[in-house]
Every structure is written in structure tokens, then in C-alpha cells.
């Protein structure tokens, strides 16, 4: 696997590993079948700024690096800015990911959205763009994508 220096740095020295006790939002995406599970914890203050973001990830080098970079990128941002974090931005920040690993960055993006959605459900705060968020739907789509990519014909 050809990983960039940045990816290897975030893999070897991941930022923001761990849980947040009494987190304001928690989101988990993925499943053992595809070998990727990401759990994101958020601490959000009264101004709706993300004071802290941490992760726990079961997955490959790209998965760990993506979680590390994604949580770095949303710290200090508003919840609205965080919702808009795209997987492409994560890939760019990492200096690129192998094509077959790009879906790891999508997982990170979705796990963050899941955590924000959890926060919005708990507090009643509405977040633009998250009205129809469905973590299960993403997981189903992710499974389908795996099946598609595995089909040889």
C-alpha cells in the first residue's frame, strides 16, 4: 500500500484518540464485515463550537489516518462548518489516499455527521443539512458498495 507521508504521520501519531466522558454527541459508523468501524465523540459548547473531538477506530491505516485528520479539522469549528466537512477535504489534507481507500475518508465524514446528528437530537438544535440523516442507511449503502466492488464479471 502506497501511503503519503502525511497519512503515515497520522497513522503513527494519531491525534485525538479516545473517548470523551459526557460527550455532547456520539456517532458510530461501519461494521466488522467491511473491516471499518469509526466512533466519534464531540464536546460542543454553548456557542455551538466544537471544543473537542475524539475518535476510536477499528480499521486499516487509511481509516485511522482519516479519523485523526477529520477530528483535527473540526476542532474549533462551528457545528455548521463541521457538517460541511467533505471527505474530499480530508483526502486533500492527507495528501491523497489510494483510490481503493477513499471510502475510509467517507466513513470519517459520515461518522462526524452521525455525532452531530446525535447532538442535534439531544439538544433540539437544528443543523442544516442533517435533517434526513440516517446512519443505518449509510451502512446499508456502504455494504452495497462493498458487494459491488467485489463482484467480478
Amino acid at each position: 500500500m502506497n501511503y503519503s507521508e502525511k497519512v503515515m504521520d497520522h497513522f503513527k501519531n494519531p491525534r485525538n484518540v479516545g473517548e470523551i466522558e459526557n460527550a455532547d454527541g456520539v456517532g458510530e459508523i461501519g461494521n466488522p464485515a467491511c473491516g471499518d468501524i469509526m466512533k466519534i465523540f464531540l464536546k460542543i459548547n454553548d456557542e455551538q463550537i466544537i471544543e473537542n473531538a475524539t475518535f476510536l477506530t477499528y480499521g486499516c491505516g487509511s481509516a485511522i489516518a482519516s479519523s485523526s485528520m477529520a477530528t483535527e479539522m473540526i476542532k474549533g469549528k462551528s457545528i455548521q462548518e463541521a457538517v460541511e466537512l467533505s471527505n474530499k477535504a480530508v483526502i486533500d489534507a492527507l495528501g491523497g489516499l489510494p483510490k481503493i481507500k477513499e471510502h475510509c475518508s467517507v466513513l470519517a465524514e459520515q461518522a462526524i455527521r452521525a455525532a452531530l446528528y446525535d447532538y442535534s437530537k439531544r439538544t433540539g438544535v437544528k443543523i442544516k443539512g442533517l435533517e434526513d440523516f440516517d446512519a443505518d442507511e449509510f451502512d446499508k449503502m456502504h455494504d452495497e458498495m462493498h458487494k459491488e466492488l467485489d463482484k467480478e464479471d
Binding site: 494519531p14 466488522p32 464485515a33 477499528y58 486499516c60 491505516g61 481503493i100 462493498h146 467485489d150
Partner: protein, 389 residues
């Protein structure tokens, strides 16, 4: 990082210096075409070809004329399956193999579907051993070929080949054995086993890559896979890769004389690695049969973490191994072999295969175990699946 510790001998092995010397000599001195027997350079080449054939045949208990050289184990597998299928298709179009075969077998069976061939993939038990009863019950009047590997490349379990050979013989069905991982690791005697065809290759036993062979019992008739000139008794065309063939023979020769010494060493290192990993690291599970497994194979699941991550850290520590995780292969699903054994997805993704070699030392084993302990702990602390409380 001091030295590199290579524990991926199932993937390929380091070529022995004696093999390289033999190959270089052939390349320099014996560049003749073995088919050009009207002049001395050609005759000399032919002599080397046939001497090499004899050495390889002797190594597996076959007659010289029953050994056909191919480019690799995969070609041997392709030839055996496609050759038998097309030769016997008027008799029937049913093939029996197992769920744990190498892709060279599985994908060839898939390809044969296009031509109307149907394959039954027999299950294995939790130790990765083929269900012989199920195999027997899968036999139909239109079954023309059974293909089962001697030992599995991922988790090392050795298969009941003699039992299956008896069944195949009784039913008059061609029996092919993929012995690519077994050659040099177990004592093979094709006559004692009474099998019809066997695939093997050089690079798993310190020979060069790019050369394999197919054993075909006298009297077995299958279609050619490669058509062309009259080489290999008109059964496998193409100018013989003499330096590779000579290298293959040299590797077999060395292996024959060092067989016990080498395999005792491998078994000792294998068992030491298993013991130390199980003692020093919690929540790890050995995959494959506990005792009836290849001398070099240690396939272990490390719960709660994923294989590619483990390998990246091992590489930084100078250790080479492989994993059953999808993430490290081109595909997105975990090892078909482990899944067929009933190992769940998470455990399959968290599996590492260490295959020790003749150069592996006790010091290496201790080093690897220590590194694994550190890596496993590091990754578990990052994992949502690990219960820290």
C-alpha cells in the same frame, strides 16, 4: 531498525545461493534450445532439461515422463482444470472442489461456468479441513473432476488427500491436487497417494519464481492449455526456460537432502511462535488445525483490531507477514478461507499469517512477539471494540 525478519514464506521464499549459481551457469553456458538436438549446444541443453526433470520426478515419486514444466503453479492449476474439463465434457460437466482453494482454482471454475460447467464447492470444518462425507455425497454421474489442495496456503491445514483419492479412484473420477504449498513441506509420493494430477511450483521452496510443474499420471489424457511446438511431449508448448528448470531441480535436490533438518527447524519455530503469542498476548486465537498443519504456518486472529494496521507497524519494526484482512488485498471482503471455516468477519479482518523460514531464529521469534505485544496494545486502545473497563 536492525535486521529484516521475513515471515511471509508462504507468499514466496528467498532463492538459495546454490540455486542462483546453477541458474547463472545455465544462462551463461547452456543457452541452447533443447529442441535443437542436431548440434551439441542443443543436445547439452536437452540433457540438462531431462536431468532436471528426473530430479523433480524423483522428489515426488513420479516417473520422469509424468512431469511437465509450466510457468507457475497457477498455470498448472489452469491446465489441470481446463484441460480435464474440455477433454471430458462429453462424459459430464460437473466439477467438485473446496471452498478454501487458491484463486487459481476458484476463478478457473468460475470461468468454466461460461461453457456450461457446474462446480460444487465443498465445505470445511472449523479447523479448515474438507468435509469428506459431503464431498462423497456430491458425486454425480456427470462428475468428471475433483480438485482439492494438499494443504491450505492461508491457515496451513493439511487435507485428507489419501481418503479423497480412494473415493475418486473408486468412482473413476480424475483427481487433481494443488500441492503448491505442500511441496518441500510434507513428503509427497504421488504413487502412494494414487492421484492423477498435481500442481506445484519452485518459488515456495527456495527456487526461482516463474517455473512450476504439473504431474500427470501415465494414461491421463487432458487437453493442452498451451498449443504450439512439440515441447513437453507435445503437451505444453513453448521454449523451455532452462535456467528456471535447472534452478527448480536444484531447489528440489537441496530440499530432499535437507528435508528433515529444515522441517524440524520450521516446526520448532512455528510452535515457539504460537506458544509465545498465546502466552504474551490476550485474546488471540489460532486459525486452522492445531497440529495437522504446515510446518511453517502460524495464522492468528488478534481480536478487536484490524490486520493492515498491524502489518504497517510490523513493517516499521522490520517484520514481514501477511493478513486475511480485506484492507490489505485488492478486494473489500476478508479472506474467503477464514470465512469458509466459520471465522467471523471481525476475526478474519484481524488475522495475521506468519510463515517462518529456514533463516528464522529464536531471537527473531522473541523480537516479533515483543513487537506484536506493543502493536496490539496500541491498536486496541484505539479500537471501539475493545472493552477497557
Amino acid at each position: 531498525m536492525a535486521k529484516r525478519i521475513y515471515l511471509d514464506n508462504a507468499a514466496t521464499t528467498k532463492v538459495r545461493p546454490e540455486v542462483i549459481d546453477t541458474m547463472v551457469e545455465v544462462l551463461q553456458e547452456n543457452y541452447g534450445n533443447p529442441s535443437s538436438t542436431l548440434y551439441s549446444i542443443g543436445k547439452d541443453a536437452k540433457e540438462i532439461l531431462e536431468n532436471s526433470r528426473h530430479i523433480v520426478a524423483d522428489f515426488i515419486g513420479a516417473d520422469d515422463k509424468e512431469i511437465y514444466f509450466t510457468a507457475c503453479g497457477t498455470e498448472s492449476d489452469n491446465w489441470a482444470l481446463k484441460g480435464a474439463a474440455f477433454a471430458k465434457m462429453n462424459k459430464g460437466k460437473h466439477i467438485i472442489t473446496s471452498k478454501i482453494e487458491h484463486h487459481a482454482i476458484l476463478h478457473t471454475c468460475k470461468y468454466l461456468k461460461k461453457f456450461g460447467f457446474e462446480t460444487t464447492f465443498v465445505d470445511v470444518d472449523e479447523n479448515g479441513v474438507v468435509d469428506v462425507e459431503q464431498l462423497k455425497n456430491s458425486i454425480r454421474p456427470d462428475t468428471i473432476l475433483i480438485s482439492i489442495m494438499y494443504a491450505n496456503n492461508e491457515m496451513g491445514s493439511i487435507q485428507p488427500i489419501k481418503e479423497i483419492a480412494e473415493i475418486a479412484r473408486e468412482q473413476n473420477i480424475l483427481f487433481h491436487v494443488d500441492a503448491v504449498q505442500a511441496l518441500g513441506a510434507v513428503k509427497l509420493d504421488v504413487k502412494a497417494l494414487d492421484i492423477d494430477m498435481m500442481s506445484f511450483s519452485a518459488h515456495k521452496l527456495h527456487g526461482p519464481k516463474g517455473i512450476g510443474a504439473l504431474y500427470m499420471k501415465k494414461g491421463v489424457r487432458i487437453d493442452n492449455f498451451i498449443h504450439g511446438g512439440a515441447q513437453e511431449n507435445k503437451k505444453r508448448a513453448g521454449t523451455e526456460s532452462l535456467h528456471n528448470i535447472a534452478g527448480f531441480a536444484k531447489a528440489c535436490e537441496i530440499n530432499k537432502y535437507e528435508f528433515d533438518k529444515k522441517n524440524n527447524h520450521l516446526k520448532y519455530m512455528r510452535d515457539l511462535l504460537i506458544k509465545e503469542l498465546q502466552e504474551k498476548i490476550e485474546d488471540c486465537v489460532l486459525n486452522g488445525h492445531a497440529t495437522n498443519r504446515l510446518p511453517n504456518n502460524v495464522n492468528m486472529t488478534f481480536k478487536f483490531i484490524e490486520g493492515e494496521s498491524i502489518l504497517l507497524w510490523l513493517d516499521m519494526a522490520g517484520v514481514c507477514a501477511s493478513t486475511g484482512s480485506a484492507c490489505s488485498s485488492g478486494s473489500l471482503s476478508a479472506s474467503h478461507v477464514l470465512l469458509a471455516m466459520g471465522v467471523n468477519d471481525e476475526a478474519a479482518h484481524g488475522s495475521i499469517r506468519f510463515t517462518v523460514g529456514e533463516e528464522t531464529t529464536e531471537e527473531d521469534i522473541h523480537y516479533v512477539v515483543n513487537e506484536m505485544k506493543i502493536v496490539v496494545e496500541k491498536l486496541r486502545l484505539m479500537s471501539p471494540l475493545y472493552n477497557r473497563h
